[in-house]
């Protein structure tokens, strides 16, 4: 694993572990995040991403190993660390008894900011979240995308140095996701360090400079999305679908084509550097799939290769 060192490290973990009884949710992971970086935890549900995020957010005590944020220990300096973090939880926890702008004001007050400060900051953030015209409305009738943007605006009220996002776009429609990604890009460009979890490979590819792939509480790979694809996959993938209950039966027929074949319940994935050429070979062998599709390899392929499972069931 590439070691990350230097003075600009804001967040680091060594042998970080979280146990609940006998269950090891996070099983001795190492990682470090530099200032200004967008760092991701990619993995399926139950991989230990959220447990890791809760420890980093200083709301869940570390069971073992070492965790440092801004050089401080969450066990002793939790409030001081949290004052410098922004947190976007997996599920929106907006205050539905308050209006949109009151949500920002009151949340800012939880950080001990003055009324004057939170009002001017809230006005900027409403603009950033494209919610200025809804400022006086109740939260409840807002759309899912609007609520998410308000949650992100709320997390920025204390001008955090690190923004923690736990599955930021889960449950949003494609258009709302793109709006959100655009907002997160802007934040990153303004120098905010992003730490996020996701089980969407397109999100990881869109947002992350560097990521770790987690499975069963462990880190199984680390790198930039491009590095990971280069290292654990081929450039292209040929997807073949057959008229069959079990695609295993067809795996033998394509043996030797491409570098590797993965069998999924509903299709075969042929890993190759030239998808069109592989498709031609399939055709020349007289194999007739219902459909064949050539695409670029993604992080989904990396995950499949590393764990033998798909990310989203």
């Amino acid at each position: 694993m590439a070691s990350v060192t230097g003075d600009d490290i804001l967040l680091s973990a060594t042998g970080l572990t979280k146990t609940f009884g006998d269950f090891r949710a996070v099983d001795g992971i190492d990682f470090a995040v530099r200032k200004g970086e967008a760092f991701g935890f990619l993995g399926p549900n139950g991989a230990g991403k959220s447990s890791t995020m809760r420890m980093v957010g200083c709301v869940s005590p570390v069971s073992g190993g070492e965790l440092r944020l801004f050089g401080l220990d969450p066990a002793t300096d939790g409030p001081a660390i949290r004052a410098r973090l922004g947190v976007v939880p997996q599920r929106d926890t907006l205050d539905e008894e308050l209006t949109v702008e009151e949500n920002l004001w009151i949340y800012g007050r939880y950080f001990g900011l003055s009324r004057r400060e939170v009002r001017s900051r809230a006005a900027e953030l409403l603009d950033f979240a494209q919610l200025t015209d809804r400022a006086g409305d109740r939260v409840e009738p807002l759309s899912g995308g609007m609520k998410r943007r308000l949650t992100i605006a709320r997390s920025l009220i204390n001008s955090p140095e690190i923004l923690l996002l736990d599955e930021p776009t889960t449950g949003l429609d494609p258009q709302a996701r793109h709006v959100l990604w655009d907002r997160l890009f802007r934040l990153k460009r303004s120098g905010v360090t992003l730490v996020l979890t996701t089980h969407y490979m397109d999100e990881a590819e869109q947002l992350c400079d560097r990521l770790v792939v987690m499975d069963h509480g462990k880190i199984v790979a680390e790198g930039s999305p491009r590095q990971l694809i280069e290292e654990y996959s081929t450039r292209e993938v040929l997807e073949l679908r057959f008229d069959a209950e079990d695609h295993k039966d067809f795996a033998e027929q394509v043996t030797g084509i491409g570098k590797r074949v993965e069998v999924l319940p509903d299709r075969l994935l042929v890993y190759t550097d030239d998808g069109d050429e592989a498709a031609a070979v399939v055709h020349s062998r007289g194999i007739a799939p219902l459909s064949s599709l050539v695409r670029r390899a993604t992080l989904e392929d990396v995950f499949l290769h590393l764990t033998g499972r798909t990310l989203v069931d």
């Binding site: 939790g78 947190v87 008894e97 009151i106 950080f111």
Partner: protein, 276 residues
Amino acid sequence: MSATAATPSAASRLARLVPMPAGAGLARMLVERNVTSFRHGWIALVTGFAEPVFYLFSIGVGIGALVQTVRTDSGAEVGYLQFVAPALLAASAMNGAVMDSTFNVFFKLRYAKLYDSVLATPMGPRDIAVGEISWSLIRGGMYSALFLLVAAFAGAVQSWWALLALPAAVFIGFAFAAVGMFATTFMRSWVDFDYITLAIQPMFLFSATFFPLSTYPAALQWVVQLTPLYHGVALERGLMLGEVDAGIFWHVLYLVVLGALGVLGTARRLEKLLLS
């Protein structure tokens, strides 16, 4: 790394000795949040105020017309309205505190997930416990003040000591809000709220509220004297009838100790529930 684990810093060792979970001294921000929310739903103030006033007129004035006078435990002969008004003040302080610290807190804890977002800020479990209970006291204090005014107009107040009935009501609210919130942290669903009713209703009826302690069988008197509402009622009655003696101090002490234990227990439970 293992070295830091083996020799914890002085600060973390101290934190382990003190049983009170951490706070950032920001409890007032949660009060501010509740005030802001309350502005949208001020109708709740009307209902919270109306209930004890209805009791005052139906029981105090209505039943009072039949009962005429009562001999208090200190031996004085007083009108039934004057006898029952302090008890209703104590009971309303209890009810207000319990409603707020159980139903409202349960909703915020389990459904609105309010405290999850609060704990992501520098605020800690202690701030939440202190903030919510303080808010209960402020709200309960408003009800009590209004009730006292109505009671004074109805002729139920006889002594200048009654001015202290308001702070006394705040002590009652403190004890019940703190214990109520502590109990709420154990609730699994709305069904569990029947236990609250089960505890509150007999206390409301049998804490020497509507008839003096001397009318209870001797064997039951000590049971009555163990309940927190008995101490609240005795405290208010002493003040509003002007029968002030050293016993007042013990009533206050009982309520304060109960409240302090409730705050501590609440903060520890919140830490266990939300910071795992």
